[in-house]
Subunit: 365 residues, 2 copies
DNA sequence: CACCTGGGTTGAAACGTGTCAACGAAAACG
DNA sequence: CGTTTTCGTTGACACGTTTCAACCCAGGTG
């Protein structure tokens, strides 16, 4: 695709002005010749240094340095059948929640010398599919995946291709299918609901993302449970507004729907499926001249960085984002290291309530 | 590294329960046999479909579908010397500015069938170096890079290895070195300064990131120019507070330094090098009981999503983030397509002032 | 001294693909 | 009808690495 110079004419590349011209083709064999050993030995120096006598090892390392050899990972993963990079398939790079998770994944991956490639599904099924295909073509060692919906068929296909994965933030994948690490969304909805009920709210709206996402469903269910638990009828007390995506724009556009309804059903508090939605909603409310929390209490979910930075601070349900990513990658590592006697595992974190300024007691009347 | 099963024993993999067992090894040759053609023809179907008769093409495509063949990109890039993925080397995945840019890059890359792998420097030189090495080992086709500082030696090395790149948001790379696309930071600082001066501010603080970053230096310079232009002494009017990183935490921690100084030098407005810094600063000010913009005007830089979502809205200098990414990738594409008669190019966008609620006229007295 | 042992090293054989000269057949031409 | 051109297809080879049986040799054992 690139032909660095007119094919047959091995003309000197004008770019390599500084430093040694760095012979265009330095492979393992060239290094071997230069060090007076066989290619196999060089390979050993690279991959199992302990098996080679320290004298020759030093000689090889010197040659590597002198020739400025850089390993060709295509060759290596072609021969070994697997590449040494793992995919991180994320729902939305734009969402701070995911970027935080990715930090955890990266930190854990480097300890194993694995490279992380970050891929973005943008909450779209076909993009997820494209990315999964990409991972298969690259023969990725493994992947950490946040599935876009309940249909795991593409992921099963990926595993059949020989690429292991662990599901993140999706607790409902059976343990016969794969590992998963997630946060208890039922519990999250529950503590959110209890918090609002404790403040005297009797009519709340759940501003939801698509119900095709399991997290959304469970947070909703938890919220309803809280009301049932308090002896109130969830059917009457919690209304749902569903949006197709979980971003701020959607939150802002939802204002009308949230405020709609007769004075009787008008909510005194809103629980958003997401901090992003909450942020947009608060902006929309501000536009309408409504004050948070005086006119309406607002809760988010995730506790992303900016939840603490806006005014009023966003009351929200915190998820251990960094640890989530770390745990997922650790699980993946253990599966890669011992594929034969690996049994899928499910890790469940517990969310925590973080109270800030965006929720207040319901002033009746 | 992975040994799918005890070496010699080709035992049936218990995982492939559903669907066809999908013979573990389907390569281009297997497809060829199945379609009754030569491997070369299959390769042509994959890469230059127009050169193969439609009858045989259909036959091959059927075989591909039936065998569930998935191309092995290791083999392909080993043979061709280049992989078909490009790197996007970003300063900080956490910063919404970069995620927006990445969307532009991705959208443009898919039009050329290139896969984008996102790599994170975390504003750290050694991580940038690791990532550059990774790109070299993978023989990446190219890269879009936001350099962490002025030292471009690693990037020059990368190009010597045969991987082209274009610099993003770093206008000072010479056109003898590589393409670049950036936003005019001098102009940005200038319009920011004019805005503040127009509001009557005479004493402002520039809350800066590390001055090793070119953008920071230039925005500062633009700000000073605005004052000089207005007949005021920049040396007296603009004070600088420098922070080592460009994130919200740093902004919050800078409150003391910003407010420090006798009543005479106490600023009535702050220009932040970054929206992230501005956000943190505003939070810190809130903690101190100071109101924005009543007690202090605050400006950001970038116009990330949330600048419009917080209260008060953040007055800021908008950069065309998405177009930035798109332009960079387009430049890279053109270099990859015609490496021989390519001449490096420099694209400079113009920033725009976005006035929101965080700046107000200076109430003297 | 003959024999074994085992750590170091070698050489050749894959891995799956792209490329390219060569070739056959059919079509266009004189 | 013979000759050239065009279009499709073929095989074999090369890319850079890992792997593995074979081998060498020094040191220990009987």
């Amino acid at each position: 695709m690139r032909g660095p110079s007119p094919p047959k004419t091995a003309r000197e590349n004008p770019l390599s002005s500084s430093a040694r011209p760095s012979h265009p083709k330095v492979g393992i064999t060239e290094v071997a010749r230069h060090a007076g050993v066989s290619p196999g030995t060089v390979s050993n120096v690279l991959n199992r240094p302990e098996r080679v006598a320290s004298a020759t090892r030093r000689r090889v390392e010197a040659a590597i340095a002198e020739l400025d050899y850089v390993r060709n990972s295509s060759g290596s993963s072609l021969r070994s059948g697997r590449s040494s990079s793992v995919g991180l398939l994320v729902l939305d790079v734009t969402n701070p929640f995911f970027t935080e998770v990715s930090r955890g994944v990266e930190d854990e991956a480097v300890t194993q010398g694995l490279a992380v490639v970050l891929l973005n599904s943008a909450e779209a099924r076909d993009r997820q599919r494209r990315n999964i295909r990409l991972l298969a073509e690259q023969r990725a060692a493994g992947a950490v995946v946040m599935p876009v919906d309940d249909d795991l068929s593409d992921l099963l296909w990926l595993r059949r291709q020989g690429t292991a994965w662990v599901a993140l933030d999706r607790g409902d994948v059976g343990e016969d299918v794969g590992c998963s690490v997630s946060v208890d969304n039922l519990a999250g909805g529950l503590i959110a609901g209890r918090h609002l009920i404790g403040l005297g709210h009797e009519q709340v709206t759940f501003l939801a993302g698509p119900f095709s996402i399991e997290q959304v469903r469970q947070r909703h269910e938890g919220l309803r449970t809280a009301f049932a638990e308090a002896g109130m009828d969830p059917g009457g007390a919690v209304r749902v507004v569903e949006r197709p995506l979980l971003n701020p724009e959607q939150g802002e556009q939802a204002v009308d729907a949230v405020l709609a309804g007769g004075p009787r059903q008008r909510p005194s508090a809103v629980l958003c499926a997401n901090d992003q939605l909450a942020l947009g909603l608060m902006k929309g409310l501000g536009r309408r001249g409504l004050r948070v929390p005086d006119d309406l209490s607002v809760m988010g979910y995730d506790d992303v960085d900016f939840a603490d930075l806006i005014h009023p601070g966003l009351t929200t349900v915190a998820q251990p984002k960094y640890r989530l990513g770390r745990a997922a990658m650790r699980l993946l590592n253990s599966e890669l290291d011992h594929p034969e006697h690996h049994v899928h595992e499910r890790i469940l974190f517990t969310p925590e309530l973080v109270v800030r300024g965006s929720t207040a007691v319901h002033r009746t009347g």
